[in-house]
Every structure is written in C-alpha cells, then in structure tokens.
C-alpha cells in the first residue's frame, strides 16, 4: 500500500527508528496512532504527565513556553519538521512536560505510547543509543543556539543594529526555529534602534533664541553713530577704487 510505504519511508528517515531491523519497524508502524491537528492546536501542555512520543508526519509542531494569559501562545523554542521526534524526554525521565507543544500549521502526527517505547528500548539496545544520540544532538543544538543568540545580544548591547545582517543570516538558517528567532530578533533590534534615534533627535534639536529687541537696539546703536557712516562712506569709495583697478 502506498500509505504504508510512505510510513516506512518516514520511519527510515527518522534518526530514532533508523537503527531498527525491518521486522521491528513493522511493529512500530502498527503501534503508531495517527492524529490530525489544526493550526495553533495545542498538542500537550507544560506540566502534564508525558505519556507518548510524537513523530511529525506532515506540517510542523513547535515546543514553546506558554504565555500566562494565553496557554496556546508563546515564543517557539524549537520547531519540528516531518521526520523529527519530540516528547521522548518525558517518557525517559517520567517527569511532567517541561514545555507545551502546538501545531504551527495544519499537521499530522504519529504518537507512540510510553509502554511500547520502553519495551523497544529494552529489546533493542541500538534504539537506546539512537535515543541517546538524539539527546546529544539536542544538547549541541542548544549550545549553538545560545551561542548565536549571545552574538546578536552583544551586537545590540554594543549599539550596532545591523538588522539587515541578522535577517540575511536568518534567511540562510536551515533551522526553522533559529530563522524564526532571528526574524523576531531583527524586528526587536530595529524597534530599539528606531526608539533610540527618536530619543537622540529629541536631545539634538537645538533651539536658537535671540532677543530681537536687544538685537535691533544694538544694531541701531552701532549703525547710527557718525563713525559708522564714515566707515560706510570710506568703504564705498574703496570698493569703487577696487572695481576701477579690476577693470584696468
């Protein structure tokens, strides 16, 4: 069947399931429960007990820190694309979900129950290693992620708002989460920059105030004197002389 071939392909492309032999993959495929999510639909909430592992089949799913006033909203920490797995941490450490998850667009997911997951790990050490390497990858990802953010923060703290550069970088980023964060960061930097420039302008507009009455009075005092009249007359004669000389 085309569908099962598609599923088979998906599992083969998933780091977590790739090491499993074909016969086990068939068992896994049967144990997966498909589910459809609308855009912005919450898959699980922060603090809930974690009972299943999620494999994204189509669309994309984000893990995020929920906002207090709107549990479906919040800045995405990471966005998962088809073939990527999330939620396995809660199955391993048996602790409540550390973050919430929601569909970023209409998506389909496949859920694997905790019981099947744990027995797979026990029977297939290579799958345990795959889980470990997945966690490993997540640590590296987090480190890189923080490194990148720290560069941007330092740049803005230093007063350089090269938002074009950040946006340019975000277009090159393959990782949807980083790209998303870079775009939001660039937006923030440009807002900060604009605010700073407006503030600067306020400081920088110089009002020139001259006492007009005093000005007129002083000018009159100087220009009404006899010596001023004589200077003006002398200057007129000298200018005439100079013009005559220039013509020669």
């Amino acid at each position: 069947m085309e569908n099962s071939t598609g599923l088979d392909q998906l599992l083969r492309n998933t780091d977590l399931f790739r090491p499993l032999p074909d016969d086990i993959l068939v068992i896994v495929a049967k144990a997966l429960t498909p589910r459809t999510l609308a855009a912005k639909e919450v898959l699980f909430q922060q603090g809930q007990p974690g009972e299943e592992l999620i494999l994204v089949q189509t669309g994309s799913v984000a893990i995020y820190t929920p906002q207090a006033d709107d549990p479906a909203a919040g800045q995405a920490i990471r966005i998962f694309q088809p073939g990527q797995v999330l939620g396995e941490m809660a199955l391993i450490d048996q602790k409540p979900r550390s973050l919430s998850a929601r569909a970023e667009e209409p998506s389909t997911i496949l859920a694997l129950g905790g019981k099947v997951f744990r027995s797979l790990i026990q029977e297939h050490p290579e799958m345990a290693i795959a889980v470990m390497s997945g966690l490993n990858e997540r640590i590296r990802y987090t480190t890189d992620f923080l490194g990148e953010v720290s560069v941007w923060v330092q740049r803005v703290a230093g007063g350089s708002y090269q938002t074009d550069e950040i946006i340019g970088q975000s277009n090159q980023l393959k990782d949807a989460t980083l790209a998303n964060l870079a775009a939001e960061f660039a937006q923030m930097a440009s807002k900060v920059q604009k605010r700073e420039e407006e503030l600067k302008k306020q400081v920088a507009e110089l009002r020139i105030e001259v006492d007009q009455a005093k000005r007129d009075q002083e000018v009159k005092q100087i220009t009404s004197s006899d010596s001023f009249q004589s200077i003006r007359e002398k200057a007129r004669l000298m200018r005439q002389q100079k013009e005559a000389n220039d013509k020669e």
């Binding site: 400081v203 920088a204 020139i208 001259v210 005093k214 000005r215 200077i231 000298m238």
Partner: protein, 251 residues
C-alpha cells in the same frame, strides 16, 4: 577678478584662524594665489598653523602700520611650509607676536584706512586671487572697515548660546554696511545635533546663507594646530565641506 574675504566671528574660540588657514591652503591647492592678513593684532595666532616662529617673522603687519616697511615687505611666502608642490601661492602677513608691540597697538590703536590701503596694495603687487582677512573677534571700528570693504564676509559661529546674540548683531551690521555677500559657517557642531534642523534654525534666525556645517572632529582637535588639517586629511569629510566653501566663494 580678485576677491577680499573677511573671516569673522563675534567670539573667540570658534576656529576662525584654523578655518582661514585651511581655506587658504585648499584654494592654493587649486592653483590660486592667496594672501592672508592676520588683523587679530591683539591676539595673533594664525602664524602657528604655518609653522612660523618668532624668529621667522621679520617684518609684521605692525611694522607696516607704523610706517617701517611696505605691506609687501611684511608678506611671508609660506607655500612650501604647508606642503611642497602646491601649485598656487600662500602669503601670510602676520601680526607681531612680540608682547611690547602688541601692547603698543592696543594702547595706540592704528589707522584703519592705512590697513585697507595695504589690502589693495597686496592684491595688486602680489597678483592675488583671494585675500583672506583673519579679523579680531567682536565689533570694533577697525574690524568694521575690514568687513565693509570685503566682497564676501564669512561669519563663523558655534552652535553655542554664547555666540547667538552677538552673531545676530554682527550679521545685521554687516548687511547695513553693504557687504555684497554674507556666508555663515557653523563650526564645532556636537555630533548628536541634527544637522538639517540646525541649518534651518540658523538660517531662520540670522537671515543668512549657511555654506558649511562642520561637526566636531577629534582628528582636528588632536592636531592642535601642528599642521594644516586639509593637507594631513585630504579625504576627510571636514576637508570636503571646506572645499564646498571655496567653490561658493569663487562662484
């Protein structure tokens, strides 16, 4: 046609001498013959920019005014001191920097008419294209006559409250004297000031054309008059702004 240009500011410390020296140099770099008369007899300073020491100054403007020499004899050719290979000429007529002679001028004053005759002699005998007069700050009779015979008056001011009132009077008086062309140069502008706004504000207040807006410049300050800025920094934005002033003056 030769032009007499007075460079004036109501207060000291506006960068008048520095600007004069740089304008003269830029004009000479274009091949013009330029004279500079330091009429700031009470507090001379422009000679420093051209590297003239007390011993280098033979005859000064004071000697001319006291009838000891002709004005041409007080003219020092400083072209090669500025930079070798300048196609034009720069002649400086310095004021005496001897304390006794400065005191005598302050005490006795001088014949402003004689000074202005000297200007015409200089134009003719040295075949000058431009004669720049570095004036004494403020408004006194001698300064007024220099302004009055000028083809162009360049008023230099800083965006500083202390400069506004006096500059406004200077500008009005100059217009009543019949100065044919009056230009303003705003110097030492703090970097955070909005230049467009400032220019509009000054043109509105003083009713005169602003020909250059020169921001505060660390390189210029740290040069401390050791050298002519336009020679040391030919491609600097300040130099470009001063070149624009020369173009306006020659237009």
């Amino acid at each position: 046609m030769s032009k007499i240009i007075s460079i004036h500011s109501f207060r000291g410390g506006t960068g008048k001498s520095n600007t004069t020296a740089n304008l003269a140099t830029l004009a000479a770099m274009q091949g013009l013959r330029v004279g500079i008369v330091d009429t700031d007899i009470q507090s001379p300073g422009i000679h420093v920019l051209f590297g003239l020491e007390t011993d280098d100054i033979g005859n000064s403007l004071n000697d001319y005014l006291w009838g000891k020499c002709t004005i041409k004899e007080a003219a020092h050719d400083v072209t090669s001191r500025v930079s070798p290979g300048i196609p034009g000429k720069i002649y400086l007529i310095p004021s005496s920097i001897k304390a006794g002679e400065i005191a005598r001028v302050i005490h006795e004053g001088y014949d402003a008419g004689l000074l202005n005759e000297g200007f015409s002699d200089l134009l003719e005998e040295l075949k000058l294209d431009l004669l720049l007069i570095d004036t004494h700050p403020g408004i006194n009779e001698e300064t007024l006559l220099s302004l009055a015979i000028s083809d162009i008056l360049l008023v230099i001011m800083r965006p500083d409250k202390q400069d506004f009132q006096g500059t406004s009077v200077t500008v009005d008086v100059a217009l009543k004297l019949g100065v044919p062309s009056l230009m303003m140069l705003v110097n030492k502008i703090p970097l955070q000031l909005d230049l467009n706004n400032l220019k509009q504000e000054i043109e509105r207040t003083f009713n005169a054309e602003v020909v250059a807006m020169i921001p505060h410049c660390d390189e210029l300050m740290s040069l401390a008059s050791e050298d002519i800025f336009a020679v040391r920094y030919p491609d600097h934005a300040v130099t470009a702004e001063l070149k624009k002033v020369i173009q306006k003056m020659l237009a």
